[in-house]
């Protein structure tokens, strides 16, 4: 369970870590939209190179980032299979009973796979390089205008921060409960899919009970530390944009423009077509 790394801060004090959290949050937001706009393989390659260079600069080891994919591996394969089976367009390459795989289906499924992978890796880069407190501060700063329409921005921000902070704690707890149930003869690893789901029940129930107990104690601890979401609150760390932040903004815009150009002027699609015809020819 310890290899589940999504959402855990990975301190290396790199250039990426030192960026203003607002910059990273805005970039991640733009990045997520852009990833959905990509239409060509060239676009994916370009985005992947960009992501790889960010990972490289952040000094977070690649294997750690790859691990974040592992958590959603099932989802990835599930979407891959569903898309292969049910997206029917273009030339049919394989047909057997109800199974009907088309060229368009293959193309679409692979792109979806790339898209989800890039999304998850990009999003986890944000949490690898940004502490939950920084994220909270950034979110609070960016959503500040909403306080005028009475949205409890600070409360929302602290809820998110605490949720992130408790991921490792709850993972550890899950592992403990699993070990305890295994010690009493629970069989978690074998059996059919449904049997295994059923075997999870004695793990989930104590986990929920303990999570609620934790929440109760945490609420007391917050009260004991005078938590209140008034304007009187101060901040130890003030957010400040630096040169690297401005450069990152320029980079983000360039990235967005390039991908949009590629998607709507079809430059990448043209190169894709060339590569495709070469593969088909061979």
């Amino acid at each position: 369970m310890n290899n589940f790394s999504f959402g855990q801060y990975y301190p290396t004090n790199s250039l990426v870590h030192r960026l203003d959290p607002r910059t990273k949050l805005i970039f991640t937001f733009v990045y997520m939209i852009i990833v959905f706009l990509i239409k060509s393989y060239m676009g994916y390659l370009f985005t992947a190179v960009l992501l790889a260079s960010i990972i490289f600069t952040s000094k977070v080891p690649f294997r750690v980032v790859i691990r974040s994919i592992r958590a959603v591996l099932f989802l990835l394969f599930f979407t891959l299979i569903i898309n292969l089976l049910f997206y029917n367009e273009g030339k049919t390459v394989f047909e057997w009973n109800f199974i009907h795989i088309t060229m368009g289906g293959i193309d679409y499924s692979i792109k979806m796979l790339f898209r989800l992978t890039l999304l998850v890796m990009g999003a986890s880069m944000l949490t690898f390089t940004t502490t939950s407190t920084e994220l909270t501060d950034a979110l609070e700063a960016l959503l500040k205008p909403l306080t005028y329409i009475k949205v409890p921005v600070h409360d929302l921000a602290i809820i998110m921060s605490i949720a992130l902070r408790f991921i490792p704690t709850l993972m550890e707890e899950t592992q403990k409960i699993m070990n305890a149930q295994k010690a009493r003869g629970a069989n978690l690893d074998t059996g059919s899919f449904f049997e295994r789901i059923k075997a999870m029940l004695p793990i989930l129930i104590p986990l929920f009970v303990s999570a609620f107990r934790r929440a109760d104690e945490l609420a007391d601890a917050l009260d004991a530390r005078c938590y209140n979401a008034t304007d009187k609150r101060t901040k130890m760390k003030k957010l400040k944009f630096g040169l690297t932040d401005y450069l990152s903004f320029v980079g983000t815009i360039v990235f967005a423009v390039l991908v949009c150009l590629d998607a709507y002027m079809a430059g990448g699609a043209y190169i894709d077509g060339l590569i495709f015809s070469v593969i088909m020819g061979a």
Binding site: Y9, P11, T133, E217, D223, T234
Partner: protein, 278 residues
């Protein structure tokens, strides 16, 4: 001046219409400023409820709790109360709000609206008080229970409270962690003059206090310096509490007619008293 004053305080948990648990029954206490007070009692004796009454996490059904003259019932001054009475709980994991140590320590002072420069100073001060300054930029996940609990203390003392309440803060720790936390508490009491109220069920911890309060069934049943409380070991056993082994041995010896005194607290003292008799 007394730091905390409880007058005829009662508190009940209403579980259902027919089921009411009277956790604290008509307790009156005065906690002197600068003292180190231990409160012991078996499970369900009301000691943790009493702790929560001290900083207004619970409001008494009857009677009043005053912290430096401020009534905890008063909603408008509740933060003033909580600022003065810092509370550390049992599970260190459930008290941390941030995943970076310095951010977590800063949480309290930030809530109080302390100025930025002063928060930075307070964080360093609090961390050095508990001997964790070198972990300032790290995460708490890989630390031992004792270290995490010391951080929880740092998070509280960064608010500069006058009273520190440890609500069974050592219950989940190993012996080494317990010793670390108690050492920090005693240092804060001696060096910073902080009033410490330590709620525990470890008699060894109660030994070192200036004053020992024993609770049973929501009432204060014994309240004296530890030595004299332990001398009443028969009563302690009635309250389902055990006395330290050395004290127990001394009392048995006393019963056999060997006069070593009933106020023996530890092994060394017992040896000292026994040697002249040989």
């Amino acid at each position: 001046m007394s730091a905390i004053e409880l007058k005829n305080v009662s508190f009940s948990y209403v579980l259902s219409e027919t089921e009411i648990v009277r956790a604290v029954r008509n307790v009156s206490l005065e906690i002197e400023e600068g003292s180190f007070v231990a409160i012991v009692g078996h499970n369900g004796s009301g000691k943790s409820t009493l702790a929560k009454l001290l900083n207004g996490l619970l409001i008494p059904d009857k009677g009043t709790v005053k912290v430096f003259g401020i009534d905890t019932k008063e909603k408008s001054t509740i933060y003033e109360v909580r600022k003065n009475v810092g509370m550390v709980f049992q599970n260190p994991d459930n008290q941390m709000v941030a995943s970076i140590i310095e951010d977590d320590i800063a949480f309290g002072p930030e809530n109080l609206g302390v100025k930025r420069e002063e928060i930075v100073e307070r964080v360093d001060w609090a961390l050095s008080q508990v001997g964790m300054l070198e972990h300032k930029k790290g995460t708490p996940f890989k630390l031992s229970g004792g270290q995490k609990q010391r951080l929880a203390i740092a998070g509280i003392i960064a608010m500069k409270p006058k009273v520190l309440v440890l609500d069974e803060s050592t219950a989940m720790l190993d012996p080494q962690g317990r010793a670390e936390v108690m050492r920090v508490a005693h240092e804060l009491n001696k060096k910073e003059g902080m009033t410490v109220i330590c709620i525990t069920h470890y008699m060894e911890e109660a030994l070192e206090a200036d004053r020992l309060i024993v609770m049973s069934d929501g009432k204060v049943v014994l309240d004296n310096i530890p030595k004299l409380v332990f001398a009443q070991s028969k009563e302690l056993l009635d309250y389902k509490l055990t006395v330290p082994l050395a004290t127990q041995a001394a009392i048995e010896l006393e019963n056999l007619g060997i006069s070593v005194g009933k106020d023996v607290m530890n092994k060394e003292e017992l040896v000292e008293r026994l040697c002249p008799l040989l």
